[in-house]
């Protein structure tokens, strides 16, 4: 019996040691990504304009292009990328357990997510706010008239909490109808299970554009919250966070400096008057670039293969798309918006 128990405890110790060794092995996300040969990016399960498959089944959208920019920076090829479709509920678990390398999925930057869930938001690529959409025939003009209404919400989001705050602050009763994905929420809303659908206004515009007859629905004027959306990574790997952060900043700075997917190759091949353009495009040395493990033409690859911020916005969300969003808050700071990249110096 003594031999048995000694053998058992020995085995246990060995197992613990092995487990430690296995989990310690993953340190640098960049090395893991390089070794794997592709980036794994968490995106929406389907939201037109942000992340949705086209008629060939290729995922396209505003959030998807952030993933593609990072792949372009790391590999020089925006297509070395696999997607993982995540719901509002599964996204953080997937990111924290290293199932994905980064998350780009209409995710609101909040204190608790940053601090308590230990996630690093690397920037904001869309300034949004929560709104309501209602059928026109319901005759509702403002969110203040929604007392007693049934409201469809996507569960696991900040909108769920804002909604509770909004109705409590205005002392109105309502029935929350929690739904897992945007597609199901739309189905329930169109079937009349709820009077109004609430989510970020960009999401409402996308959902409205995807209905059979968008003119039958109105987005109410009220904005009940601030929803700064952006890509994020997990805590603990600053190098990787910097790569994602500056990939996004490169897209934003490129628009500000007039670098587009059309002219980027030409501008990168000559000396430009604007020294910042030179540093961004690798014409002049950008101090510290090697520390990120990126090649000299990393930003050129992003802009050539994905486009600058403005191009990406117009392609997926802008006036020429069915969603038809204004730049609004998401215009460059030089045009009165909030989009602003720190200097490349």
């Amino acid at each position: 019996m003594r031999i048995l128990s000694r053998a058992l405890s020995g085995g246990l110790a060995a197992a613990v040691g092995l487990a430690m060794a296995v989990s310690m092995a993953s340190a640098g996300t960049l090395d893991d990504v390089r070794q794997r040969g592709h980036l794994i990016c968490g995106i929406n399960t389907g939201l037109v304009g942000f992340a949705a498959p086209d008629d060939k089944g290729v995922w396209k959208g505003f959030d998807v292009d952030v993933c593609r920019a990072v792949a372009a920076a790391v590999f020089g090829d925006a297509n070395k990328l696999r997607y993982k479709n995540l719901t509002g509920k599964t996204r953080f678990t997937a990111l924290r357990s290293a199932e994905i390398d980064m998350l780009s999925r209409n995710t609101t930057w909040t204190f608790s997510r940053d601090v308590d869930l230990q996630l690093t938001f690397v920037g904001i690529n869309y300034y949004d706010g929560q709104g309501f959409m209602a059928p026109k025939k319901l005759g509702v003009k403002s969110a203040g008239e929604l007392a007693g209404a049934s409201v469809c919400i996507q569960t696991g989001t900040t909108t769920e909490l804002n909604l509770a705050d909004f109705f409590r602050a205005n002392n109105m009763k309502y029935e929350p109808v929690p739904i897992e994905t945007n597609a199901e929420a739309r189905t329930n809303y169109l079937a009349g299970r709820c009077d109004v659908y609430t989510t970020d206004r960009s999401g409402l515009a996308a959902t409205r554009a995807a209905t059979d007859n968008p003119d039958d629905h109105v987005v109410l004027p009220e904005i009940i919250s601030k929803e700064p959306l952006g890509p994020l990574v997990r805590h603990g790997d600053d190098q990787w966070a910097d790569i994602v952060r500056w990939s996004l900043n490169a897209m934003i700075a490129a628009e500000e400096m007039g670098v587009t997917s059309k002219n980027v190759k030409e501008m990168a091949s000559k000396e430009n008057k604007n020294k910042e353009v030179n540093r961004l495009l690798g014409v002049e040395e950008l101090q510290g670039r090697e520390r990120l493990g990126l090649s000299k033409d990393w930003a050129v690859n992003i802009i050539a293969q994905v486009g600058n911020y403005g191009e990406v916005f117009e392609k997926h969300l802008g006036k020429k798309t069915p969603i038809g969003l204004d730049r609004g808050l998401n215009a460059q700071w030089t045009d009165g918006g909030l989009i602003y990249a720190p200097p490349f110096r």
Partner: protein, 408 residues
């Protein structure tokens, strides 16, 4: 117990201990007793190592992620609303209370589902054995359809049917102007008990006690003399009559809160969400097919001679079913029935698919997501389901012991 392989020199003809080389560590493997113990130790070691590895993995990863293990988050305010709350709940209450609301919702749907499934299952199971060709074929089709479709699809199907075919509250279908069917759910009048109604409740309790006494007396008379008194009628008269008379005597002590359309939705009355109705019905629909087959098997397990004997004694058909067939078939039906109840309860966790906020929706869903405590939440959810299942199991085992055939 030991045996030796043929071909090995067997020193039986020589007295004394076997020579040195015949005993080696390898030869132990051929000793059945030693081998048995060795294999058991290895298996046990494997199990322990796996468990230890899993725990160590969690501990190590928690350390890497700088996460702590604890349940303090249960006392933080939940901040979200729930549309079906059987106990008082606002978004200012704690996550623990939200979990309790979810647990009660799970219990409600499981309880209702089990009742509906049992009634449906017994009916269909008996119909399946009907001599009427049409009835038995219809029951057969029902069983094959319900048993052979995934329960998740059934839940989505029924929810889809409810929200897509029923009208908007403003054009609600109504039964007698008091009950309304809409795609927002069913609104039924809610009974409101006023002072004096406690006497009616008391009368009902007295009537039930009376009915039990009558039942006992009828049995005693039957066993002593063979005479069958009309006990059923007397009990029914007691249970309906006594509270009825009391109600009339104390005056109108019961009123109904009738739902009324106000703004977007109906107000007042008892409100059943389409999610509750769809989920209960889909679970019951699915499980009833299995129960029907259990019932059929149980009835067919009763020896034909028993039925023929009771018919020969001149018992009417209904009594043959009630007194001879059912008591004997229950002992076959109850054990598999228990697993069906457990299945139904566990399947109710699919509620999340249609947004019915049960335990998985609150503790294992919104709370998990807002607090980021995956391991803790999932552990609690699993423990609760385990507890519920063990509870049902214990009750059914107790019931099984009661209906078990007493063998002589």
């Amino acid at each position: 117990m030991s045996y030796r392989l043929p071909g090995v020199v067997q020193p039986t003809d020589r007295p004394g201990p076997p020579p040195g080389p015949a005993f080696s560590l390898g030869s132990l493997w051929y000793d059945e007793a030693v081998r048995g113990v060795a294999i058991q130790i290895l298996v046990l070691l494997g199990v322990f190592a796996t468990v230890a590895w899993m725990i160590a993995n969690v501990v190590a990863n928690f350390a890497i992620l700088d996460k702590t293990f604890g349940f303090e988050f249960l006392w933080l305010p939940a901040n979200y609303d729930i549309n079906q709350t059987l106990i008082e709940y606002t978004n200012r209450d704690t996550h623990l209370r939200a979990a309790a609301v979810g647990l009660i919702n799970t219990g409600l749907v499981a309880f209702l589902g089990i009742i509906v499934a049992t009634v449906l299952g017994f009916l269909v199971g008996i119909f399946r054995l009907s001599e009427n060709w049409l009835v038995s074929r219809l029951a057969y089709c029902y069983v094959e359809f319900t048993r052979n479709t995934p329960v998740l699809l059934l839940i989505l199907l029924w929810h889809g049917i409810f929200i897509n075919t029923l009208p908007h509250p403003r054009q609600a279908m109504t039964i007698g102007g008091a009950t309304f069917l809409t795609n927002r759910g069913f609104y039924v009048p809610k009974p409101v008990f006023e002072s004096g109604f406690e006497w009616v409740t008391l009368a009902l309790a007295a009537a039930i006690v009376g009915a039990i006494l009558v039942h006992r007396h009828v049995r005693r008379v039957r066993e002593a003399t063979g005479r069958q008194l009309p006990g059923g009628w007397i009990s029914a008269a007691l249970i309906v009559g006594l509270p009825g008379l009391t109600y009339a005597a104390v005056g109108a002590s019961l009123s109904f809160d009738v739902p009324e359309l106000q703004g977007f939705n109906f107000e007042g009355g008892l409100y059943l969400t389409p999610e509750l109705v769809a989920l209960t019905w889909a679970l019951a629909f699915y499980t009833s097919g299995f129960i029907a087959e259990n019932v059929r098997a149980g009835i067919l397990a009763v020896d034909k001679g028993q039925i023929e004997a009771s018919q020969a004694l001149g018992l009417p058909r209904r009594r043959v079913l009630r007194l001879v067939i059912l008591p004997q078939s229950l002992r076959v039906i109850v054990p598999p029935l228990t697993s069906q109840y457990l299945d139904l309860t566990k399947n109710s966790s699919l509620a999340i698919a249609i947004g019915y906020v049960d335990l998985v929706g609150t503790l294992g869903g919104i709370t998990l997501n807002q607090t980021g405590r995956e391991i803790e939440c999932m552990m609690l959810v699993m423990l609760v389901y385990l507890a519920i299942s063990l509870g049902i199991s214990m009750f059914m085992n107790w019931y099984n012991r009661r209906v078990r055939l007493v063998e002589r």
